[in-house]
């Protein structure tokens, strides 16, 4: 799972227009998963720590042996489900930069999906912020894409290398404003 992949030729999405090319697929920096991974590890070791003292736990001795095993299986299934949901939320919270628009696919609470997009021609202002200890150490931050006043703004939160992303979006927006054909990534790389 690459956090940032340049020019992912094999990536397509459902609402992709004909001849539309995906330039960048961005996700939140993987380090943003640290809090839930630590929580998950703590949840996994809770039974290992507390089972030797099972006699002292209020309800544990009242359960039958099969009930105790079932409860343990349930505990680990719940932990697995929690981890699955959190990794899927990270994996599918993507920002797509194509040659004509910017898309923000967001999962809120996993069962609610929010897809926001802005045409590069309608972009008015792009800013990025990077602050705090973790963001400085791991080089990630937020990029805010502002569109016309009545339109929804797009926030690329906790993306790696926000300065470069900022530069890419402003360059693409400038080209779109001029209605020029957008250069490929290879062309960008060969420019001085």
């Amino acid at each position: 799972m690459n956090n940032t992949s340049q020019k992912p030729l094999k990536i397509n999405f459902l609402t992709q227009n004909p001849n539309e090319e995906v330039y960048y697929l961005l996700r939140k920096d993987f380090i943003t998963n640290a809090p839930w991974i630590i929580t998950l590890v703590l949840c996994l070791i809770v039974p290992i720590v507390f089972l030797p003292f099972g006699e002292d736990i209020l309800f544990w001795p009242t359960l039958t042996s099969s009930g105790q095993i079932t409860l343990l299986i349930f505990w680990y299934l719940c932990c697995f489900g929690f981890g699955l949901v959190r990794i899927a939320k990270w994996y599918y919270h993507v920002f797509l930069i194509t040659d004509s628009r910017v898309l923000d696919v967001d999962l809120v609470g996993f069962l609610y999906r929010n897809v926001a997009e802005a045409q590069l021609q309608h972009l008015q202002d792009v800013t990025h912020t990077q602050g705090g200890l973790l963001q400085l150490i791991f080089n990630f931050g937020n990029v805010y894409v502002q569109t016309a006043a009545t339109r929804q703004d797009i926030e690329l939160l906790s993306v790696p290398e926000p300065g470069i992303i900022h530069d890419i979006i402003t360059d693409l927006a400038a080209i779109a404003h001029k209605n020029q054909p957008v250069p490929t990534v290879n062309d960008r790389n060969t420019q001085p």
Binding site: L14, T62, Y92, F110
Partner: protein, 83 residues
């Protein structure tokens, strides 16, 4: 008068211990059903997301979600028939 077979015996045998076992079994079944609903919703959302943005990682996550659902179905069946 209609006689219900073994009803008197059932009432005589009914104690707090046996009630706890019955409650434990139905508690496990109820929790399994809730977990199953949750896993099916996850699987459905994964399928929709994989349709929106098909990637190898997304397909892997969908398979894992399917395995999670199957595991819960097996647990539900085990809790119904084996306890």
């Amino acid at each position: 008068m209609i006689e219900i077979p073994n009803l008197n015996q059932l009432i005589e045998n009914l104690s707090l211990g046996s009630l706890a076992v019955i409650l434990e079994k139905w508690g496990v079944i109820a929790f399994s059903v809730l977990l199953l609903i949750f896993s099916v919703l996850i699987l459905k959302q994964m399928t929709l997301l994989d349709q929106f943005l098909p990637t190898p990682g997304g397909k892997l996550l969908k398979r894992v979600a399917l395995a999670f659902t199957i595991a819960i179905i097996l647990l539900l069946l085990a809790s119904i028939f084996l306890t």
